[in-house]
């Protein structure tokens, strides 16, 4: 079973320490829910998990291997959904998704990406040939999320994915997440509210780093 773990994590963001001494663990088929108020470091932690932001301290491991030693493998296994939707207005809906499928470059026809399935599962089939600049905010978000359905990835890192979605689309997203978990994938998701479901919860405010203390920067 795949294990994504972190121990003693700390990271800087914008001149302050976003969190310090943070531990987590999430296995295959499990979802980790990041909760905390605005500015508590949820997005920072997700970016650190993706490898976009460097760690100031601590270690991230996948299946026991330090991520710093296998950056390429880590990028190949993850899907990241951030705040912005990465949608190009001049391209059609299909062209947008086709591009990301091509960039995923899985190299094998069986494990390859399927953009038609992606569009269909997020109910974008009717909009397939529309230039993306005509999409509403919710539709753009669905197009962004369609990558999750189209491109196989073991680890999903989702930063407030339900933002600007209507309730039907939220249900679609939840169904997709459930499907992913049943297939053995893992999910780390950040949101504002506390989810009453059975997922594991990581409360970030307990790891708050506060401002950078100049004097205690000495090892």
């Amino acid at each position: 079973m795949a294990q994504f773990t972190g121990s003693g994590l700390s990271s800087f963001r914008g001149g302050r320490m976003a969190f310090r001494g943070l531990d987590f663990g999430v296995g295959g088929g499990e979802m980790l829910h990041l909760v905390g108020p605005n500015g508590s470091g949820k997005s920072t932690l997700l970016r650190v998990m993706a490898g976009l932001l460097p760690l100031a301290g601590g270690q991230l491991q996948w299946d026991g291997t330090d991520l710093a030693e296998d950056r390429d493998g880590h990028r190949a296994r993850l899907a990241y959904v951030g705040h912005a939707d990465a949608v190009k207005g001049e391209l059609s809906v299909t062209e947008n998704l086709q591009f990301w499928c091509a960039m995923a470059a899985h190299g094998s026809p069986n494990g390859g990406a399927d953009e038609a399935a992606g569009l269909q599962r997020f109910n974008l089939g009717k909009l397939a040939d529309l230039p993306a600049r005509f999409l509403s905010a919710g539709q753009r978000r669905r197009l962004n999320l369609a990558r999750l359905a189209a491109i196989p990835a073991t680890l999903w890192l989702l930063d407030e994915p339900a933002a600007s979605l209507d309730s039907a689309s939220v249900a679609t997203l939840e169904a997709e997440i459930k499907r992913h978990l049943e297939a053995g994938g893992c999910v780390v998701m950040a949101s504002h509210g506390r989810d009453p479901s059975d997922s594991m919860v990581l409360e970030l405010s307990q790891y708050a780093g506060g401002g950078m203390d100049f004097e205690d920067a000495v090892p």
């Binding site: 976009l52 990028r75 990241y80 391209l91 086709q98 470059a105 069986n110």
Partner: protein
């Protein structure tokens, strides 16, 4: 479906950039119009004497091409940075250095190549003698890709900075001076009937050097910007 692997991904990246440039149409045209406009300013400023214009033609065309290319450079990564595509590109399995080369190639195809095509017309406006044209085209063909590469590094470095357009020019133009010097020298050699082989070889070497080194600097800069 996409079982194409890395070459397919590279091709998709180049194709997307070209498609975006073509659908935005106006951008490429503006660059060409600016190129022509700058060149046209010189006879008006320097005086229409054919001998003088012919003497400075090579330099004017090179400088104008340089400035025109600079205009389109800051657009290279800015929209990707703004709409969140950059972080997804950094996270994709395709090595970022190769992506940098792909974007530079797409930039050259949509900016450098049109400039090269427009150059002979401008040579006529500046009364450049016939012997200069082949060398001019060859030198521009070797120099404009270097510009896309060096400019790409500058564009990546200035992502998210204040006044990024002017900053980009300040960073890139000094680095481009060697290419400019040898490019003009090549055309001048051609105009006086000498072989321009040495200058063209040096331009080629500069291009190879840029192609080898710029991706590393550019990818490092892109990773910093995506943090």
């Amino acid at each position: 479906m996409s079982g194409l692997g890395a070459p397919g991904a590279l091709g998709a990246l180049i194709a997307r950039d070209i498609r975006l440039a073509l659908r935005q149409g106006a951008d490429s045209m503006m660059v060409i119009v600016f190129f022509v406009l700058v060149v046209v300013l010189f006879p008006l400023g320097v005086g229409p004497e054919p001998a003088i214009l012919g003497r400075i033609a090579a330099g004017v065309i090179w400088v104008a091409a340089l400035l025109a290319a600079m205009l389109s450079m800051d657009r290279l990564y800015q929209t990707d940075h703004a709409d969140g595509s950059l972080e997804l590109l950094v996270l994709s399995p395709l090595p970022l250095e190769l992506q940098f080369l792909a974007k530079a190639a797409a930039h050259w195809l949509t900016t450098g190549l049109p400039l090269i095509i427009a150059a002979p017309l401008l040579g006529v406006l500046l009364n450049m003698r016939a012997e200069g044209y082949p060398v001019l085209l060859a030198a521009l063909a070797l120099g404009t890709p270097s510009l896309s590469l060096i400019g790409g590094v500058g564009a990546a470095l200035s992502l998210g900075a204040r006044r990024s357009g002017v900053l980009l020019s300040l960073l890139v133009l000094p680095l481009f001076i060697p290419v400019l010097i040898f490019g003009v020298s090549a055309v001048d050699a051609g105009l006086t009937g000498l072989a321009a082989k040495a200058q063209l070889l040096i331009l080629g070497a500069l291009l190879l050097g840029a192609a080898a080194l710029a991706p590393w600097a550019g990818a490092a800069a892109l990773r910093q910007a995506a943090e």
